[in-house]
């Protein structure tokens, strides 16, 4: 594991990537991209996630399924910073002909393990991969990042049952619990709490963690690896729009691009944070 300071610095860099990409594109989803930054950095830039940017198809790699596909800018930044493609390509987000589609497309960006965009589907896909790995005695693990609003999709719970039924302990789901969906707060729209009790009663190993604490997240991933017999879900408590004060906890920043003034303010705030 790189030094904690380096990882925090990287989170800041990723946040800048996200804000810059969405500002340049003029559209996109900053809120749920910013809230998941530490979740992704602590997965990809520690000893947890086995991947091979120089040989992306290596069959022994772990798999990552983004279920909350609107966090595409975050995923692109992580993959670019990991070395899968040049960082300068990030500015092509959402433009015609770009591999960086508004929601991830594995046919245009081949280093993705799957496309995403229609909510509620990722865990089923992760399960299918994980089941196949067990069937063929392969060891890679499968990670799936969902949103907390996404938990309203019934398919999530069908998939939760399947993974428990089939003892898919090679699956680790992460839920970015930022409390806010497009139209408002999850609690007000269709309350999903208590999520921990729900997942526990569905037969999962549940780990609750501060979703902005890299050390705690790393520990949670380690625990999920060590836990046998049932799949693990990490409930990561986060702040929507984390890092940009005017975006934090605001539903309107779920899917809005900043204007020039807001962009400057966001970048200034992120630059300040580094020092």
């Amino acid at each position: 594991m790189s030094g904690l300071k380096d990882l925090q610095q990287l989170c800041n860099t990723v946040r800048k990537d996200i804000v810059r990409m969405i500002y340049t594109a003029g559209s996109g989803h900053p809120g749920g991209s910013l809230s998941s930054v530490e979740i992704m950095v602590s997965l990809y830039f520690t000893d947890i996630f086995r991947c091979f940017p120089e040989n992306p198809d290596n069959p022994t790699r772990d798999r990552f399924i983004l279920s909350k596909g609107h966090a595409a800018p975050l995923q692109y930044s992580i993959l670019a910073r990991k070395g899968y493609f040049p960082v300068k390509e990030l500015k092509s987000l959402r433009t015609f002909g770009s591999p960086l589609q508004g929601h991830p497309n594995m046919k245009k960006l081949s280093c993705l393990d799957c496309s995403a965009g229609s909510l509620g589907q990722g865990l089923s896909i992760a399960n299918g991969i994980a089941f196949s790995f067990k069937h063929t005695h392969c060891t890679p693990r499968v990670y799936c990042l969902m949103g907390d609003g996404e938990q309203q999709e019934g398919q999530v719970w069908e998939a939760a049952l399947f993974a428990a039924q089939n003892k898919l302990d090679n699956v680790c789901a992460i839920i970015d619990c930022n409390g806010i969906q497009l139209d408002g707060s999850v609690k007000d729209i269709k309350n999903m709490e208590p999520l921990d009790e729900k997942w526990h009663s569905f037969g999962w190993n549940v780990i609750k963690v501060n979703g902005h604490d890299i050390t705690a997240l790393h520990e949670a991933y380690k625990q999920s690896e060590a836990h046998l017999g049932t799949p693990t879900v990490i409930l990561a408590a986060t702040t929507k729009g984390k890092g940009i004060s005017y975006m934090e906890n605001q539903a309107k920043w779920h899917g809005t691009a900043p204007n020039a003034e807001q962009y400057a303010a966001a970048m200034a705030e992120l630059s300040l944070e580094v020092q």
Binding site: S118, Q121, S124, G128, I129, A130, S132, T136
Partner: protein
């Protein structure tokens, strides 16, 4: 004529595939006895997964399996497979061009007494509009076997639909079957009847009756709705100058729709469609439903006679 359910052909092919390929997995949503996926459960339990009553999860899980290099065959009633899981089929299976095989059982109105909720009459339409999808509607158990083997050998998403009832076995092991290639089952020069599924046999019988009226009706089995065999369809249409399309499906969007789309861009041959006309079915025995919903032999005869008036 021997009568065997088409689903037996599906089950037989799955058994064969599980025997030869360790990567074939068969998924079902609590109707394995109906779809014949149960045969896999009995003989190759390691290849069988009962997903429970969860069609959306079943398709998503199959997509993941395909991503991991497996070849999943997903079976349940066609109406629920194509309808309930359409978004999963579109946004995950087809968008990523994944090697997922979808077996839609109990298709058409001939499923009978279960009634309208269980009668897949729109499945061909909503599957064939999806990019990357192959759609096959075989006509008997032998052809269902061949079609299932063929989609195994075809990379990418495939939908195969077949019925519940025992139906006449009108092909033999020697009958040619090539995915994407329509097959002339009976020669004729006045009108071409394009048909698939149960309506191939009905159309053969209709052709016999038309012959007594002095009308020479060619019968062409268009088992593959997508990709459509444009060459055969256009040449048959041009040679006979009149077309009937017969299918156990809504008139809108299925084989009839596909053929009209093709013909409209190439010639002015008159077409008459035989199929369900914008309505739901109901309970009843298969034969009386077929007769009462416009899928009888006489309906095909009438369509041929009528289309000839427009020639």
């Amino acid at each position: 004529m021997e009568q065997i359910p088409m689903r037996d052909g599906y089950g037989k092919a799955l058994l064969e595939l599980c025997k030869i390929d360790k990567n074939v997995l068969v998924l079902d949503a609590d109707v394995a006895k109906s779809t014949r996926a149960d045969w896999i459960k009995q003989q190759f339990p390691n290849h069988f997964i009962d997903m429970g009553i969860s069609e959306q999860d079943m398709v998503g899980t199959a997509a993941g399996m395909a991503l991991a290099g497996m070849i999943p065959f997903v079976s349940t009633y066609g109406v629920f497979l194509s309808g309930r899981a359409w978004d999963q089929i579109r946004n995950t299976v087809c968008y990523n061009n994944l090697n997922v095989k979808l077996g839609g059982a109990h298709a058409g109105i001939s499923v009978g007494p279960d009634g309208a909720t269980h009668q897949a009459l729109e499945d061909v339409a909503i599957m064939r509009v999806l990019p990357n999808m192959t759609v096959v509607v075989p006509c008997d158990s032998i052809e269902t076997y061949k079609a299932t083997m063929a989609i195994y050998h075809t990379a990418g998403p495939c939908y195969i639909r077949f019925g519940r009832e025992a139906v006449p076995v009108i092909t033999t092991d020697a009958t040619p079957f090539v995915l994407g290639k329509a097959c002339v089952f009976r020669p004729g020069s006045d009108v071409t009847i394009f048909a698939n599924g149960t309506m191939v046999h009905q159309s053969m019988n209709a052709s016999n009756q038309l012959q007594k009226k002095g009308i020479s009706a060619r019968v062409v089995n268009v088992h593959t709705v997508k990709p459509l065999d444009a060459e055969t369809i256009l040449s048959c249409a041009a040679e006979t100058g009149a077309v009937v399309v017969a299918e156990e499906h809504q008139q809108a969007g299925g084989l009839g729709g596909a053929i009209c789309e093709l013909l409209s861009q190439h010639n002015n041959v008159p077409v008459c469609l035989v199929g369900i006309h914008d309505t739901f079915g109901e309970s009843g025995n298969p034969c009386e439903l077929m007769e009462n919903y416009g899928l009888g032999i006489q309906n095909v005869v009438d369509a041929a006679v009528n289309v000839l008036k427009r020639k």
